[in-house]
């Protein structure tokens, strides 16, 4: 069902869930690469802004991917309890 999220957030979350079975760092890197390869820059900017402002509905893996896109070093996994259950 629809979740009422902005499109870029919904899309980022949909990508993130596909990589949720991977090691977190590997998953975040792959999500970041996918967004880098396929997303128009304005979508990335909107996602960055969302993470920096509200951000609460952004999948942690997608959030880590945003960090990776900004600073292409290994993203740090969030605390286990805050990661989505898949």
């Amino acid at each position: 069902m629809t979740d009422g999220l902005p499109p870029h957030v919904r899309l980022a979350n949909e990508i993130a869930i596909q990589f949720a079975h991977l090691d977190f760092t590997d998953g975040a890197t792959r999500v970041a690469k996918h967004m880098h390869d396929f997303w128009d820059p304005r979508m990335l900017r909107a996602l960055f802004t969302y993470k920096d402002t509200t951000g609460q509905d952004l999948d942690p893996l997608a959030a880590a991917a945003v960090d990776h896109l900004r600073h292409p070093t290994d993203p740090q996994p969030p605390p286990r309890e805050s990661r989505p259950q898949t």
Binding site: Q18, H34, D37, F38, A46
Partner: protein, 936 residues
Amino acid sequence: MSLLKEPDLGTPARKGDATVEVEIDGQSVVVPEGTSVMRAAALAGMDVPKLCATDSLEAFGSCRLCLVEIDGVKGTPASCTTPVRAGMAVRTQTPRLEKLRRGVMELYISDHPLDCLTCSANGDCELQDMSGVVGLREVRYGVGEGENHLDAPTDSSNPYFDFDASKCIVCSRCVRACDEVQGTFALTIEGRGFDSKVSPGGLDFLSSECVSCGACVQACPTATLEERSVVDLGMPTRSVITTCAYCGVGCSFKAELKGDELVRMVPYKDGGANEGHSCVKGRFAFGYATHPDRQLSPMVREKITDEWRQVSWEEAIQTVATRMRDIQERHGTGAIGGITSSRCTDEEVYVVQKMVRAAFGNNNVDTCARVCHSPTGYGLKQTFGTSAGTQDFKSVDDADVIVVIGANPTDAHPVFASRMKRRLRKGAKLIVMDPRRIGLVRSPHIEAAYHLPLRPGTNVAMVNAFAHVIVTEGLADEEFVASRCEDYEPWAEFIARPENSPEELEEITGVPAADVRAAARLYAAGPNSAIYYGLGVTEHSQGSTMVMGMANLAMVTGNIGRDGVGVNPLRGQNNVQGSCDMGSFPHELPGYRHVSDDNVRDIYEKLWGTPILPEPGLRIPNMFDAAIDGSFRALFVQGEDIAQSDPNTQHVHAALSAMELVVVQDLFLNETAKFAHVFLPGTSFLEKDGTFINAERRINRVRPVMKPKTGKHEWEIVCEIARAMGYPMHYDDTSQIMDEIALTTPTFSGVSFDLLDRVGSVQWPCNENAPLGTPIMHKETFVRGKGRFMPTNYVPTKERSTRKYPLILTTGRILSQYNVGAQTRRTANVTWHPEDTLEIHPHDAEVRGINDGDRVTLASRVGQTSLHARISDRMPVGVVYTTFHHPVTGANVVTTEHSDWATNCPEYKVTAVQVGLQTSKVDADKAQVAVPVAGS
């Protein structure tokens, strides 16, 4: 006369290396073993008279006209049914044979009207020809004397052809064509002896199981089965070989004309994709090209509420250019973009993406493949290294196991389906994965070994279960995997986990584990197993994952790189493959090369003399979102009706309404044109000059049958817009565009119009390594080197049935209609499908009080529409189905924003809905009755 008469050697060619040498009328000829005497004679230049024989059908031996004498053989055997033997000496012309043949012809003619001068087949009648060949000068029995069939009635029920029984010689060619070529078995010979007659199952043609493919008309040697257009207009006088503009099979046709009037489309025997066969759309449904609805003048309006105003080409082009530039000045370079069409030629598509990249200065170009096969592009590139199917169509002739996943070839790709059915009738096994019991599951002389009616949205679970069986039961082709692939171990570890077993996934897919195991074993056993798939794979939230899952299956069983195997997307539209190849995606330049690749950009920047952005642009759904948020303000739409075909209609309409400028280039004022400010009339396939690329990567020429009715080719208009925007873009003719494609795209470097005109067609890659193209890909190595196994974690779609929306809607096509129906609704094909209907299982109908034919409401969380119900046990309980050919039905009013995670391809195949009986007067008043645009 410049009609292209193709040679008919009488019986089909035989394959094989073994040959036989025989002597025909003193002339030696060497032919493959099993060849008929008739064919051998024809190859030696000695045509034997014939009526019941034609080389598209197996020999039948009924007309007795092809008798020959053979040394050492008693009597006069029929040359069509007699195979050659080594050392055989045959005589085809002797006084005895001539007398016998005249006697046979006398009998035929004694029961045939002698109205040759007024007959519709005059000049194109084999009976007439043979009468001349045998030297018939008299009919001793009289003509029409005694008992005869001259008053037999004509069946004109079919809108496209007549069946005039009075002219039938009961040669059975039509019956055999329906059986052998089409595979429908709709016709039979009814009665015995003198009472024998061709019958569509005791009914008229329209009421019968006939699918109007035209194979019987093609096979008929007389005027018995004749195109209505020939009856009305007379015999055509010239032919142009061109390519069909419907589905991705890409059939070659002879367009046959009188002057500039198209009389008929005849399937071309040398067509690489169809080899002389056709379907009801390509064969007959071309009337839309001259339909009165067609717009031939450019039009402009300030606001979409204004009336259209016809303007000159100059004004229309200048309006587009001026307003595009104005929007860019106010909102930025990236505020405009374009969409290319899979119905247009490669050359037309190429210039649009060039206009966007070079004149617009951004990468905001996408194509309608976004909403169909974009996951194919992604999935096959990730695993095999290139975004295309692996085989040619002929390959299916060598398949032992055929897996059809999420495709309905008999409706959507009928000419390929006929080829596939021929192979199935010869013994290949069939596995069908589809929620719906499609026609292939059980049809004449065909029954699927396994039909796995999985729940919509569970494809990846199913393909994982298949792979689990193969890996855990030791069925993998370890040698192939070791030598040809990489990343196998992590994938195998993942797929072997208990969570991927058929037993664990049974609750998700709804398919018994035992059936899944048995089907997987059958696929692995092959030895040649081939996967064919359609939009039932791609149009899901995990469409790309499923494509990779199928590629994994093919790799783990070694079913890649030879005839009879592979992973084969059945493309929806005529040029889906080509439009993708031509750089229509916002992240890729032609040839599937990413825009971030400096070396690739450098090629185009030097040639085009302008920088190209290294970052992807907006995809179609992103364009809609950006239009609503205000950052995307203008769109050029080439031949795609996004307002009807894209999901979540309300959202699309809001996006289109939000734009300052929508430019539509199309044949008709379609649904999208309601939101347009400039309308640029397009050309039909009969006017186009260029190429289409079909699902097997075959580059076919589209030759102009007539001049553009609008006065301009579409590519010329695009070039003029680019020039008006200040970017110089010019070609003298279409061949120069292909030359530029070849110059800049390695997989096309050997392609030219000259080559295509010389050899007919080629399949890319066509370059110095493969000067005549590549029918089978990945033979020695994969395009990316090693085939890559990709993990395919099953993630359920978010779109799930709920108490409020307890059913799942899935959508598809029907044989007689094509996509949003812009073409087929403007032909007599509406006879078969005047409106979209909702297929619903008897149980789901009963609990809702719905009877067959009732008008029902169809509602999802995003919209509601209404249509008539059709109760069908082809559907599983809990799943309903409709088509999207009629705008008034508005199937996409109910489809949602969910899409494939990798490509944004919409999830058309899974929408939670509720269906209810439409009872209230208010609802009834609002009911949209689907009325065809015209029935011409």
